[in-house]
Subunit: 347 residues, 2 copies
Amino acid sequence: MNGNGRSGGRPTLEEVAVRAGVGRGTVSRVINGSSKVSEQTKAAVEAAVTELGYVPNRAARALAANRNDAIALVIPEPEARFFAEPYFSEVVRGVGAALAETDTQLVLTLAGSDRERRRLAQYLSGHRVDGVLLVSVHAGDPLPELLAELGIPTVISGRRSAAETLPCVDSDNLAGAAEAVRHLLDRGRRTIATITGPLDVYGAHCRLDGYRQALAAAGRPVDERLVAVADFTEEGGRRAMRELLERSPSLDAVFASSDVMAAGARRELRAAGRTIPHDVALVGFDDSVVARHMDPPLTSVRQPIEEMGRTMARMLLERVSGRRGSTGAEGGPAVVLPNRLVVRESS
Amino acid sequence: MNGNGRSGGRPTLEEVAVRAGVGRGTVSRVINGSSKVSEQTKAAVEAAVTELGYVPNRAARALAANRNDAIALVIPEPEARFFAEPYFSEVVRGVGAALAETDTQLVLTLAGSDRERRRLAQYLSGHRVDGVLLVSVHAGDPLPELLAELGIPTVISGRRSAAETLPCVDSDNLAGAAEAVRHLLDRGRRTIATITGPLDVYGAHCRLDGYRQALAAAGRPVDERLVAVADFTEEGGRRAMRELLERSPSLDAVFASSDVMAAGARRELRAAGRTIPHDVALVGFDDSVVARHMDPPLTSVRQPIEEMGRTMARMLLERVSGRRGSTGAEGGPAVVLPNRLVVRESS
DNA sequence: GACTACTGTGGGAGCGCTCCCACACTGTGT
DNA sequence: ACACAGTGTGGGAGCGCTCCCACAGTAGTC
C-alpha cells in the first residue's frame, strides 16, 4: 500500500551489509568500485547486492558526499525556436550517449523569459547540479560568469569570440564555409555571393571569414557588394537576396550561412525568375530538415552536432571529477570539430 | 578556494532558524508554505532567508521526505529521428513551462537501444523520480507495466488504443483529419485520396477514420482504392502516391497523415507532371518545418504539441502529489486536445 | 620478542532536511 | 478552581549514504 513499508521497501546499504556479513563501509567501498577490498568479500557483497536487488539511494548519496551526479543542460528558449530543428535533439542525443556510461542525470532547464532566467540562476545557486552545459551563449550573457563565481564547472557550445576563455566545443565554421565556397568554385561558379548571420555572433563571423579566405585562396578578389548581412531568419535571407540581386544581378552562386536563410534566398531567386541550380547555385549551412526537403534539395554544411554534444558532456564530466579531485586547473581547452559538406542538387 | 568551506558555505535551515530566533521546525514550515505559523514569525523567517540567501538542499529534502522533486521524460530514441522535428523541442517547452512554477526537475532519459532501455528500467526501479512522462509509446512496450508495478505515476502522450488505460494526453486525430478532408471538399475537390500511417498505430488509424467520416458526412462514398497505407516516411509517401496515381489517375486531392509523407507525395506528383494545388491539392499532418518550407507551402493539421506537453506535466504532477496524499485513485483520464488546420498554398 | 608497516575492515559521526511528538500558552466551558 | 480543546512552537529521531578514524590481522625488520 504505502511506498516505504517496513520489509517490502527497497533494500538499504545496511541490509546488504548484513546479508553479506560485512560492515557498511565495506559495502560502500564495493559499490563505489573503491580500492582495497579483498576479492572474497567483494564477491560476497556483489552477491548480496544482486540477491536483494539493491540500488543505491541517490539522495542519500548526494547528501553525504556533497555531489549530485547530475548535470544541467541549459537551453535558451527563444533561440531554440530557430535552430531547434534537428539541433536540439541531436545535442541531447550526444549528451545522453556520453552520460549513459556514467550514472549522471541530465537535467533540462529552459531559460527563455527573464523570469525563467532568474529562476535558473537561483536554481543553480542551490548547487543542485555538478556541472552545466550551456548551448549557444550570447556574448553578453551573465550566466557563465555567475557559474564561475559559484565554482560550478561549465562547458559551452560555440565560442563567443576568438578569445573564448571557457572550455567549449565548436565546429570549424571557417573551414566549413570555405569548403562550401570552394565547392562552388569547383563547379565553375564565377560570381559567388554570401548571406551572413549577424556579425556580432562569432560563428557567423567565422563563416564569412571562411568565404573570404576561400575566395582569396583561389586568387579571386572579394567584392564587398557580394556580401549581405542578415539575421539567420528566412525573411532576412529573402531581403538579403533581394539586395544582392539588385547590386550584382550577374551573380551565379550564393553561400548562405544557414539553411533557413537559404530557404528565404531560394524564394527570392524563384520570384526573380532564376532557376536553381542552373542560373544560381545555392549552398546553405546546418544541413537541417529544411535542406533535405527543399526543392531542389539544398547542398549544405553539416555540423557534427551529436558529436559536439558528446564531447561537451565528456569534457564537463572530466572537469567535474577533476574539481572533485581538488585540482583547480582552469583555462578551458577549446575543442573544434570538423564540418562536412553534404552535396545535393542545389549546386 | 574549495566549495564547501566552513563558514562561507551555503546556509542551512538550522542557521536560518538561529538567525530568525526560532526552531528548525518552524523554518521548515515556512519554507514549505505549511499552515499554522503566525504572521510575525513567518515574516522573521522570511527575512532571515533572504538575508542569508538560503536555498534548501534538495538532496537532504529528498532523503528526509522520501520524494525527489523530479520527473523523467523518456524519449524513445529511434523514433525521435522521425518525428523529432519541432515535436521534441515543443514537448520539452510545454513540460518545462508547466514545471517552471513548481520546483520539480526535468530529467531527460533516452531509451533507444536495448541496452539503454535496460539501464532505464534499472534507473526507474531506483525510484529516482517521482513520476514519468512517456512520449510515443508502442502498443507492446513493457515500460508502462513496469512503471505500474513500481507504483510510479505515469502519463503518456498519445493513446495506444481506443481503450487506453493509462492517463494520457492526445490530440484529436480523428477530428483533425476530418477537418482537413472537409477543407478539401469545401475547395471543390471531388476525388480525395489519403495516405495513411501504419494502421496498428492508433493515431494513424484515427486519422483514417477521420477521413472516412468526413467523406461519409458529406454523402460521398468511400472508395477503398483511394486509401494507401504507408509508414510515415518520405519514401513510403512516395510509393503510396505512385500507387494512388496508378489506381485512380483522376484524383484531385490527397490528404497525407504526416507532412513527411506529404513531401514524398509531392515529389511523386511533380514527377508525374501534376501541379500543386492546380491539379492536385495536398494536405499534410503535423505542421512541421517541412510543411512551412515546402514548395508550395503545405496546408497541414497542427497539433498543439506544446500544450500537450504542458498538460501531461500537469497531470503527472497532480498524480504525484495525489499519491503522496495516499489516494490510490487509478483509472486514467484521457485528455484530448483539439487540432487546427493551417491553410497554405498547397490546397 | 618487541618494533614498525602495511592491508582490510567495522562502525561512529554527520550531511541537511522532514516528520511528528511533546510542550507551552491561550481561551472557553463547567 | 479544574479540565479541555486548540494553536504555535521547539527539537529529537531518523532518512541512507560517505567519510574517516580506529583497530585487528599479517608480515617483515632490528
